[in-house]
Amino acid sequence: MLSLLSSWSLELKTIINLVDQGHQWKFHGGIHPPSRKERTKTLAISTIEMPQQLFLSLSQHIGQPAVPVVAIGDTVQKGQLLAKQDGFISAAVIAPTSGTISDICQYSNCHISGIETQTIVLTPDHLNTWRTKLPLTLTSDHQQILERIKLSGITGLGGAGFPAAVKLATKAAIEFLIINGAECEPYITSDDLLMQERGAGIVAGIEIMAQLLKPQRIIIAIEDNKPQAITAMKEAAKQSIIDIIVRAIPTLYPAGGEKQLIEVLTSKQVPSGKIPADIGVVVQNVATSHAIANAVLLDEPIVSRIVTVTGELVDKPGNYEVPIGTSIEQLLIHAQFKPQTQQKIIIGGPMMGFALQQINAPVIKSTNCVIAASINELPDAPPEQNCIRCGDCEQVCPANLLPQQLQWFAKDQDHKKLNDHNLFDCIECGACAFVCPSTIPLVQYYRVAKAEIRQTTEDKRQADRAKDRFEQRNIRLERDKQERLERSKKAAEVRQAAMSKNSDGDAVAAALARIKAKKAAAEESSDAPNKDRVAAAIARAKAKKSAQTTSPEPAAQESDDIDPQKARVAAAIARAKAKKAAQQQKIDSSNDQSTNADTIETIDPKKARIAAVIAKAKAKKTLELEQANNNGNDDKSVTVADTIETIDPKKARIAAVIAKAKAKKALEQQQSNNNNDQR
């Protein structure tokens, strides 16, 4: 054990030594897609005018949606907390400017699915007043700093949107803190510009993270196609109080992928199913680092982000600092978007980004790039051809998978083989689909297969749970039964003991009397009040008939013929009407316990409900009795249905429910009759 540990530390030392010597490694595969960054890589960061409304989705990150802490109509200030994080993996939502909350509703989100999510709508007052700021310093308590980062709603700004505080709260011993400025995707230049212009802020963020994580080495990795950024960061790093290595790495997609970047810089591979912290590495994006510096040192939570807007269809491309929640449509208009009949709006890069479905979706924290591409610029893939097993995909796969084998298995839905071939280690970088000569949408096949497998696993988990619960229930029922038996046995014993004391005859007589009483009571309770009630209903109906002009006469009439389906429909209509009326009039009714419906007084809605429910149950019982008696559909159902004509909505509801129950019973009866007939 000890020797293992020492050999491990030795190995670590050599890795650190190699890193110090400027050594770099390679990851498997990789591609060189056309970079297309030229258009925006020299354009300084600029701002846009504050939009009329900001749409702040509560699901801007991976994990649980945030929970709103404001209500519609509230006035908020810039930087104020709007929604707090819910659980460990979640992130807060902050007001990007001052204004009023005009709505909290379902709204389109900047998400691949195009599904609407809960969104806070903020109408800015254009004053942009900050809430009071309480800046911390580098020497503040760690817990306090972490809390601040959490409350500032900072998520990974590189694209995935993983809450930043979670990574920084790790307990693992960290050897390498890697700051990701690789930005390997084509088109995107937001991090590039951030590094060029705000290197000091990024370094300040790094200092805070270094304070929290105590890493042995800190490396800023930048692809070598961004010479200005490299120079700027080297300059900024020199000013820092701590040692920061700025490393230019070869331009090769997907070098900016977390796992690939770790391999390039440290030769380590993140074991499958683990996180970088498990091998002593933490990776943060440069923009995240900048946001952390703002949050901690200035107490300015994340209110805006830098978005690259580019593509052939915008005349004024650029790197814009945009308030979170700005609609992408507005952003595009600002960049002089020239819509064509057909185009793609890509959020993120062209390799891993997604095509937007609603143009009114807002900018969220992880929106780093908007590409308005004409159909010639990023054409649709030609129809899929047969795989010729050329193996090009395997040569470029950064995860060293066998993409074409996976594709066959995915088409065959062979989940076992997919797992054998480590489908879940695929990072969906799209390199395989990029090089495929048969233009097979490989990544799409993997996504679907992954979804299917996840679904199957989830189903399996639920099935196991259900099985457990079912078995538990059976055990419980069995136990209850045993206990009941036990109890009755005991009671019998007690009785027997008592009987043997008293004279036998008395006991028998007493028992008989008890039974008789019970019977009588039962009859009474089921029969008598019902008759009363029915009579009352008829009376009521008659009384109200004249007064009511808009009564659902036809429905009632229709329930005359024995068609249960129609009766059901009628009942449903009546119920809906009654509900509406109830809402309008708020008639409170009550019912004395003798269940006479005529004695309704306006006392309190709860009582009315109880009454209604009792009536319902009663009605059902009656029906059962009736059916037991005459085994078919009878006039009484008509009588009951007649009560639908009443105005009193409460009563109507009761009636409706009764009708419904009756109809159900009748239907069943009819069906069973039919069945019998057929036999």
Partner: protein
């Protein structure tokens, strides 16, 4: 020693039981849907064939031949084979229930695998001695296994292919077997 190696190569490649002599086609077609079951089947068949050719040699040489009962050869060989198969089945069932289930009916049907009886009878016909018989039996089984395993891996691949409807399933498998046989003709003349 060299002659045994040549005999082995000859039996495995040149006179492959399945692709050249066309023996044992039933399990070849039947148990080649999945690679795992094919591997299991080949192991079971290898065991049965080797032991059966050994036992049948002994039975023939020391029991039937001395008393001139050669005309009972087929009968007693089948008895031997049946016993060995039965024994194998018990062992497989005990050691690997999944394999047992996968092989299904084809495990007891090794009995009627004509390759097994073929090995035993050819041993006699070709006047093999004791070691020859074992090598021959083992070689035949090895050839059978080799082809079966390759074939099953190919069939797994065919399963994902867009084969025209009339050729799906057994027919394309037959065609594949034919093409394999064609390729195996390349070994003709390798060992005289």
């Amino acid at each position: 020693m060299v002659e045994y190696v040549l005999l082995l190569i000859g039996t495995v490649l040149v006179n492959n039981f399945v692709l050249v002599k066309f023996l044992g086609l039933c399990p070849f077609m039947g148990v080649s849907n999945k690679l795992e079951s094919a591997i299991g089947m080949s192991m079971a068949t290898t065991f049965v064939m080797t032991v059966a050719s050994l036992c049948s040699y002994l039975v023939n040489q020391y029991l039937l031949a001395p008393v001139g009962l050669e005309y009972l050869r087929t009968l007693s060989f089948i008895l031997v084979i049946a016993v060995v198969v039965q024994f194998t089945e018990m062992v497989v069932r005990k050691t690997s229930p999944t394999l047992y289930r996968m092989l299904g009916i084809f495990l007891p049907l090794i009995t009627t695998n004509c390759a097994v009886l073929g090995v035993a009878l050819l041993n006699v016909n070709e006047h093999h001695n004791f070691i020859d018989s074992i090598v021959y039996g083992f070689g035949a089984a090895l050839g059978f296994s080799l082809v079966l395993i390759m074939f099953s891996a190919m069939r797994e691949r065919i399963a994902a292919a867009d084969v025209p409807a009339p050729f799906k399933g057994a027919s394309i498998a037959m065609i594949t077997a034919g093409l394999m046989s064609l390729a195996f003709m390349g070994f003709t003349g390798l060992v005289k």
